[in-house]
């Protein structure tokens, strides 16, 4: 039905854009990671120094592992919060389902900065939380560790990424055929058994998608640590930011970014494979 010239003219502009603004930049990232910096200028001498430094230096590895731990914590918490919410909305909400759904996606699209800033004002030693605790005479002095700690980073990122996990889980729960659920109940299974043996397995693709989203985005996050993390809450992307800023070492920063990119793409690849095995329809 569609002529060749139609298909060509429709494919060329986006292909061009993707090449110039995605492929070429990634290629540049690749090239930079093999160069080095000397006396404030970038030396285009091809070498593996950056990667060697990354593999050997304890600092980068420590921060990377801390970032992965934070990302894993965020993902688990976001799933723990998002899944029951999705389950409730999909299976039990009747009258206000639409409204309740909107109430979940609204925080998702509302400014990251606004939400991160809000947590900053809540968790500080002069913030709302400490004010509340002191007002209720639960503590006498402000609790310091709420802000500028990995705790604050995990809390903020969980808040940001819970709607991210909710969405795909809700979508997959909505597609669970209700007659299967009814059949399970008719055969005498309790709601708990029905859930674990019928509903949950069918929702796994959504869980996987949500978890991947949350993990990848949390891992590469640099804003929350800057807002609420303090020195102990630094994540791998913050190191990259400073390498592109005051620490001026673009090649090393590019090397870390490239590792992050490869990690993300590999993870996506693996998840896609697993998802294919899991989907029944």
């Amino acid at each position: 039905m569609y002529t060749r010239s139609y298909k060509v003219s429709v494919s060329i502009p986006p292909l061009l854009w993707v090449t110039i603004f995605l492929l070429v930049p990634y290629a540049l990232l690749f090239c930079y990671s093999f160069w080095s910096v000397s006396a404030g200028a970038i030396v285009r001498h091809w070498n593996l120094d950056n990667y060697r430094e990354l593999a050997r230096s304890p600092m980068y590895l420590t921060v990377l592992f801390r970032s992965m731990k934070i990302a894993a914590a965020v993902t688990s918490l976001a799933l723990l919060l998002g899944y029951p919410l999705a389950y409730f909305l999909s299976f039990y909400a009747k009258l206000r389902k639409d409204l309740l759904y909107q109430l979940v996606i609204i925080p998702l699209w509302v400014s990251y900065l606004v939400r991160g800033y809000a947590w900053k004002t809540i968790l500080g030693s002069e913030g709302v939380l400490n004010g509340f605790l002191q007002y209720m005479h639960l503590v006498r002095h402000p609790v310091e560790f709420f802000l500028y700690s990995p705790f604050a980073v995990v809390l903020t990122l969980t808040h940001i990424y819970t709607p991210f996990t909710f969405l795909p889980i809700y979508a997959s729960l909505e597609h669970v055929p209700r007659n299967l659920v009814e059949a399970s109940q008719d055969l005498g299974a309790s709601p708990a058994v029905t859930f674990w043996r019928v509903i949950f397995p069918l929702s796994l693709p959504g869980v996987l998608a949500g978890a991947t989203f949350a993990f990848v985005l949390a891992l590469g996050d640099f804003l929350a640590p800057l807002l609420v993390g303090g020195p102990s809450g630094i994540m791998i992307s913050n190191i990259v930011v400073s390498l592109f800023g005051a620490a001026f070492n673009w090649p090393l920063g590019a090397a870390i970014s490239l590792c992050l990119l490869v990690l993300v793409v590999t993870l996506l690849f693996v998840v896609e494979r697993v998802e294919k095995k899991l989907s029944f329809s």
Partner: protein, 288 residues
Amino acid sequence: MSTAEENHRGGSFRRRPAWLGVYAAAVYGFLYLPIAVLVIYSFNGPGVGGFPPRALTLDWYRQLLSDLALWDTVANSLLVALAAVAIALALGLPAALALDRARFPGKALFRRLVLLPLILPGIITGLSLLMLFVASGIHLSLLTITLGHGTALISVATTEIFAGLQKLDRSQEEASLDLGATHWQTFWRVTLPSLRVPLIAAALLIFTLSIDEIAVSFFLIGRSNTLPLEIWSRLRRGITPEINAISAVILCFSVSMIVLWYHLRRRREQPEAGAAELIQTSLQKETA
């Protein structure tokens, strides 16, 4: 009727476990607590911290209104957002069409690349684009920020429009072509009008995301700030309640955009009236 549409009518089990409702309410509370605190304290006289909030005042909003430097950056953000919508739609539309209709070598890779910025942390998109601009000698400015937003948000446009294309009735286009229209005419008069709702929905979403965008913009900023970047740099200097006030304003704006977007998308589920019916009835007349 698809399973999802059936299920949307809601309710499945007879008895709802009490704890589930409480848990769900708690999660909603968690999601909205910081937002509520932010808004409440934007009216708080003594400022951002402490408890309980007292001395309600509109002072911070008055201060906000007279802060011209801030409104300059708002204008920048609006400009960038409009341009980003234009770029993302202008490229997302052919991209969606290509994914829907064309077959070419590397299509799978193309699809992945187009969708990649959605899941990739903003720092990678931002830094790689920074390298592009440095390598090509383009100075960082609002233009580079716009290009960054366009690149990051083209995935949103493609996804929305692609979903709209899937729901499109292909026979209308076929009929148009059979009746002698060229591909271009068919596109303008049949395809595009039926994509009106997905296009508007995509535009709303992209606009809102662009206004709020900070991760990619962080690396592409020149001398002029966008609104989020301006707020960010002020935060480095210290927290002022004026920031609460502008955040509350941003919140209101984003929320209304998102609610609008959501209702547009829900409307799409209903059968399309107008041109589609005309073509169908005229076809029936011919064969009758």
